[in-house]
């Protein structure tokens, strides 16, 4: 199935995909303005992609951003009892578990690269 999909010519795929994106962006709030916004951001995304900026992190940011913002504000509201509201993010053990995990996964590509260099490039 995947092989068949990858063999579909661009001339067939592009008009259908453009149609579906326009329908999708219009149906969010029944507004043509949203469609223009989608087209402009699509062009911007194309230029950024050509300049070497990946679309994945931008999409992740768009999806996770509002969730992070509400979580941060909720945390700060809970932390109002402390001398500094920011301390709420480092005073609980569960916070430290996630901080350590985040640092580990942030550094993991560097560690992996070093391990590959040390072992002569055999590992994947």
């Amino acid at each position: 199935m995947a092989k068949v999909i990858t063999k579909i010519p661009l001339s067939l795929l592009a008009p259908t995909v453009i149609f579906l994106t326009v329908v999708g962006s219009y149906c969010v709030s029944n507004s043509i303005f949203d469609v223009y916004t989608m087209l402009i951001l699509g062009l911007l995304g194309f230029v950024l992609r050509k300049l070497g900026f990946e679309a994945g992190p931008i999409t992740l940011g768009l999806i996770l951003g509002p969730i992070i913002e509400s979580g941060l504000v909720q945390g700060l509201l809970i932390g109002r009892k402390l001398p500094q509201p920011w301390l709420i993010f480092i005073t609980r053990p569960i916070c430290w578990v996630f901080i350590v995990l985040s640092v580990f996964f942030l550094l993991w590509p560097v560690i992996l690269k070093k391990r590959i260099v040390v072992s002569g490039g055999d590992q994947k």
């Binding site: 010519p9 661009l10 001339s11 067939l12 592009a14 008009p15 259908t16 453009i18 149609f19 326009v22 329908v23 219009y26 149906c27 029944n30 043509i32 469609v35 223009y36 087209l39 699509g42 062009l43 194309f46 050509k50 300049l51 070497g52 900026f53 951003g65 992070i68 913002e69 941060l72 504000v73 700060l76 509201l77």
Partner: protein, 151 residues
């Protein structure tokens, strides 16, 4: 590398302007945008420094941004898409506009290798897809689709 420099300078100015704007908000509304903007500025400075360092070590044979022929097709499809949305909203409506511009885009992208049988097959399939969406959204779900001058 030059692109990285231009993008990083643009992002630096952009984040500074937005950071200045967040001063109007209260603490809880401004905290997340400020956090993100400061983080963006730090990463942008790193990108700028990296771009400058790499620019000094650059080789002359750098690849082109995009081939001229591809750029022509991209711009043509983008222009057609903008025209389609404009025409769909004001003149042709959702059904006619989508069918017309979809078939035109297919004919342009297929180019000289287009056969009559393929053209007919795509046209019928595309008309069917558009009609299904038009009926499902407009008639069943009562989404107010662009009407244009006709329907």
């Amino acid at each position: 590398m030059i692109a990285d420099m231009v993008v990083s300078i643009f992002l630096l100015i952009f984040s500074l302007v937005l950071l200045n704007q967040t001063r109007q908000y209260n603490y809880l509304s401004a905290v997340f945008p400020q956090f993100v903007l400061v983080f963006l500025m730090i990463l942008t400075v790193i990108l700028l420094v990296r771009a400058i360092v790499l620019f000094k070590k650059r080789r002359k044979s750098e690849s082109k941004f995009i081939a001229t022929k591809d750029l022509f097709y991209v711009l043509l499809v983008a222009a057609l898409s903008f025209l389609w949305v404009y025409v769909m909203d004001w003149i042709l409506g959702f059904l006619l506009g989508s069918i017309l511009f979809g078939i035109v885009r297919f004919a342009i992208l297929a180019g000289k290798s287009l056969k009559a049988s393929h053209f007919l097959l795509f046209s019928f399939s595309y008309v069917a897809i558009v009609f299904i969406f038009w009926y499902a959204l407009g008639k069943l779900l009562h989404v107010p689709l662009p009407r244009g001058l006709f329907f």
